[in-house]
């Protein structure tokens, strides 16, 4: 039984053979780039690694707390569980993911268009915004002036530097989009009537989606929280700032995920010897995320100030997201199957074992995809309205998002780094065997960890809580679930440490690469010649997305306004 071994009905579009460029001591497949074009890409990636390192270290302290060993009195700088947890969330959910997106989407935009970014100034500006924003937010948290979690719900009031840092991190992503759009315009001038290359298209839609989505957080911080923290505004409406937060706070998960989708769709097939399944469906999947922005209220089913009508409308829209996820499941698995069969795989499942599992970049992304299947299913549970009453704000949610952003995204970023760091530094990957062990350690760890968190959550374990000291801990039967969380978390920590051994070993590796470094660009089975042209009209789709968001959130605001601005900033930490 083979599904996909038929010859392609439409001839695949040839991928142009790369000519070689020498970047200092090593060669890459983009002859049009110089070191100055690649340097910001590399330093955005290093900033992502710093975010990951901080997050992994805090994760260790949290896992130990679940195991019964409270280390916060023994470690320097981090005074409390909640201060560490805030650093964990900000470093991973904002710094790690945003910086990787800035780095990876810039690199692939250049590769897709076959030209450097239009503006070196914007490249540098984005880089500086990212580093400065991280420095400000990190200082605020480490000085214990912003123990507000990465969601910073008012009336918890952080020091102004925290909000300015968050703004700069978001601005760094806007500057990347601006640069992509300038590059698109320049490319269109030179390629009149041509289809936007798929890799550049998906990279641009990712950043465009997040730009539209981030307007909620931008208004929340710039109009309300920052002036409020500076004393220019006496009080804010905590329900309203939550509505603004979650307008961005749901699509932020698309922003974490879509750079990984770009890799799964346009690169991973090449890495396993398969082809991208369908150009058109890939574009449609990315556009669906652009259109389905206004679903944030499904994070607020239990909020008192939002009416039943808004919750119902956005619940139904949320279910729409399942559709592109299932298209992705089919398309990516089809590409993998094609690769596995070309490598000699037979039967229903034999192709899986023939995939190049000894390549850490492939193994990590395959395991990340498996975790995403579990994470996606649990996401459907979270979104399921009445079922949400069981799991909302419990550790079930924590289990869910460590499978999705923590592993589908986080482990994929680590796996992509295994080809990207050699590409950007000209150094050979250090200890590839250890890198394979690393991705397995993370994967096994997260399965145990998520099992514990989800089990506990269904039994009522709250999230964001110093659990072993909770007054109600002994009254509930949570011991086994908590043990799973602790053990799984510690195994993930081992996986995290191994990642830094491999990456630091690579950056400082004395052995340089001898062959040309190549981005694994996949060919397309059903190419853009059979794809609707209208999918490339990004301006039109942007207008439709904005109108849809205005209509759906207009319904929320029509019920909600006027504001109840009653809360001054409070610092209960």
């Amino acid at each position: 039984m083979t599904l996909l071994d038929e010859p392609a009905p439409i001839a695949p579009e040839p991928v142009p053979t790369p000519t070689v460029q020498r970047v200092r001591s090593w060669k890459i497949d983009m002859p049009y780039l110089t070191h100055a074009d690649l340097r910001p890409v590399k330093w955005h990636l290093y900033l992502a690694f710093i975010g990951l390192l901080l997050g992994v270290l805090m994760g260790f302290l949290q896992a130990m707390e679940r195991g019964g060993a409270n280390l916060y009195d023994d470690v320097p700088v981090i005074e409390t569980y909640y201060q560490g947890l805030t650093l964990h969330g900000v470093a991973l959910a904002l710094v790690f993911t945003f910086s990787f997106a800035n780095s990876f989407m810039t690199l692939l935009t250049m590769r897709g268009f076959g030209r450097p970014m239009a503006s070196r100034g914007l490249l540098e500006a984005s880089l500086w915004c990212g580093w400065a924003g991280t420095a400000l937010a990190a200082w605020a948290i480490l000085a214990n002036k912003a123990t507000v979690m990465f969601t910073f719900y008012a009336p918890l009031g952080a020091t102004p530097a925290f909000y300015i840092g968050a703004v700069l991190l978001v601005v760094s992503t806007w500057l990347t989009l601006a640069n992509q759009l300038l590059t698109l315009r320049a490319w269109r001038r030179d390629n009149v009537g041509a289809r936007i290359p798929l890799m550049s298209y998906t990279s641009i839609v990712t950043m465009l989606m997040w730009f539209l989505a981030s307007t909620g957080i931008a208004v929340e911080v710039l109009v309300f929280l920052l002036p409020w923290s500076l004393g220019l505004r006496d009080a804010v409406d905590p329900q309203f700032t939550r509505i603004l937060f979650w307008f961005s706070g749901h699509p932020i998960v698309y922003f974490w995920l879509l750079p990984i989708y770009v890799s799964w769709y346009t690169l991973l097939p090449r890495q396993v010897g398969g082809k991208i399944y369908s150009d058109g469906l890939t574009r449609i999947v990315f556009l669906t995320f652009l259109l389905l922005l206004p679903v944030g209220v499904h994070h607020q089913f239990t909020d008192p100030g939002i009416p039943f009508s808004s919750k119902t409308i956005q619940w139904l829209l949320t279910f729409g997201i399942f559709f592109p996820s299932m298209v992705t499941a089919f398309s990516v698995v089809a590409a993998l199957e094609q690769g596995g069969r070309k490598r000699g795989g037979r039967g229903w499942f034999g192709w899986i074992t023939k995939l190049p599992w000894n390549d850490p970049s492939v193994a990590g992304q395959l395991l990340a995809g498996l975790a995403f299947a579990l994470g996606g299913a649990s996401g459907l549970i979270n979104a399921s309205y009445t079922v949400n009453l069981v799991v909302h704000n419990t550790s079930f949610i924590v289990g869910h998002f460590h499978l999705t952003v923590g592993t589908a995204v986080g482990l994929s970023i680590m796996a992509i780094s295994y080809w990207m760091v050699p590409y950007l530094t000209g150094k050979q990957l250090f200890a590839p065997g250890l890198a394979v062990a690393q991705v397995w350690a993370w994967f096994i760890g997260v399965l145990i960890f998520a099992r514990g968190q989800m089990w506990g959550g269904i039994d009522g374990v709250p999230r964001r809580t110093q659990l072993r000291d909770a007054v109600y801990y002994g009254d509930n039967d949570w011991g086994t679930a908590t043990l799973f969380t602790a053990v799984g978390g510690l195994i993930m920590f081992v996986g995290g440490v191994l990642f830094f051994v491999v990456i630091v070993g690579t950056i400082f590796n004395k052995r340089v690469v001898s062959e040309t470094q190549v981005i694994p660009v996949a060919e397309i089975e059903h190419g853009s010649r059979s794809t609707w042209r209208v999918l490339d009209s990004l301006g039109t789709w942007t207008i439709i997305a904005v109108v849809l968001s205005v209509v759906v959130y207009g319904e929320v605001l029509a019920h909600y306004l006027p504001l109840t601005e009653v809360s001054p900033p409070i610092r209960p930490w």
Binding site: I10, T80, Y82, L85, Y153, A154, P155, L156, D237, P238, Q239, R242, S278, G280, L281, F301, T302, D303, P304, G305, P307, F308, K311, F319, F322, F323, M326, V327, F330, A334, S384, Y385, T386, L389, V390, H392, N393, D459, G460, P462, R463, R464, T465, Q466, L467, D469, A470, V471, Y472, D475, N476, H526, S530, W532, T564, V566, S567, I570, P572, W573
Partner: protein, 159 residues
């Protein structure tokens, strides 16, 4: 645009599964009276302790056999923190926060709500199991968030 035969059938199956899930959830909303927390009024957190009914938190019997529970959430306690209700009783909670955002969760029931300054959180909970039930603040509310809890003792023998 070309869509493979297998993929077309797969997508149709996904769409059907989603519609069935929506139908099942609609049935639970209509049939089980799954009550989402709502707010019929707004309140200034600074005035809560001098505004009825929150000036006198506690448990009050209703004419319909249920109970009104008037509750205040503050860093880091519920008031009242302990209460007793008969098994099978429906409690009509009205909860307001005097400071930051708090949470309200009772394991093994449908009780799950946010308590947001400026809003009055209203929800109905029916207690079917005898014994102590933890009341848990499940939103981070400051450095002692984990000591914010209460107990509802559900006692048997009524009706």
């Amino acid at each position: 645009m070309k869509i493979e035969r297998y993929e077309r059938w797969f997508l149709i199956a996904v769409a059907v599964a989603l519609l069935l899930a929506v139908a099942a959830l609609l049935a639970t909303i209509a049939g089980e009276h799954a009550a989402f927390p709502e707010s019929s009024e707004r309140i200034d957190p600074a005035l809560i302790s001098s505004t009825a009914p929150f000036d006198q938190p506690g448990v009050y019997p209703r004419d319909d056999g249920g109970y009104d529970v008037i509750m205040i959430a503050r860093t880091w306690a519920f008031e009242p923190a302990e209460m007793e209700l008969p098994v099978g009783a429906t409690a009509h909670f009205r909860i307001a926060s005097v400071d930051v955002v708090h949470g309200f969760k009772i394991p093994d029931t449908n009780a799950n709500a946010m308590i947001i300054p400026g809003q009055v959180t209203e929800l109905e909970v029916t207690f079917d199991e005898v014994g102590p039930h933890s009341v848990i603040c499940h939103e981070y509310c400051g450095i002692q968030h984990h000591i914010m809890g209460g107990v509802i003792n559900v006692v048997g023998g009524e009706g």
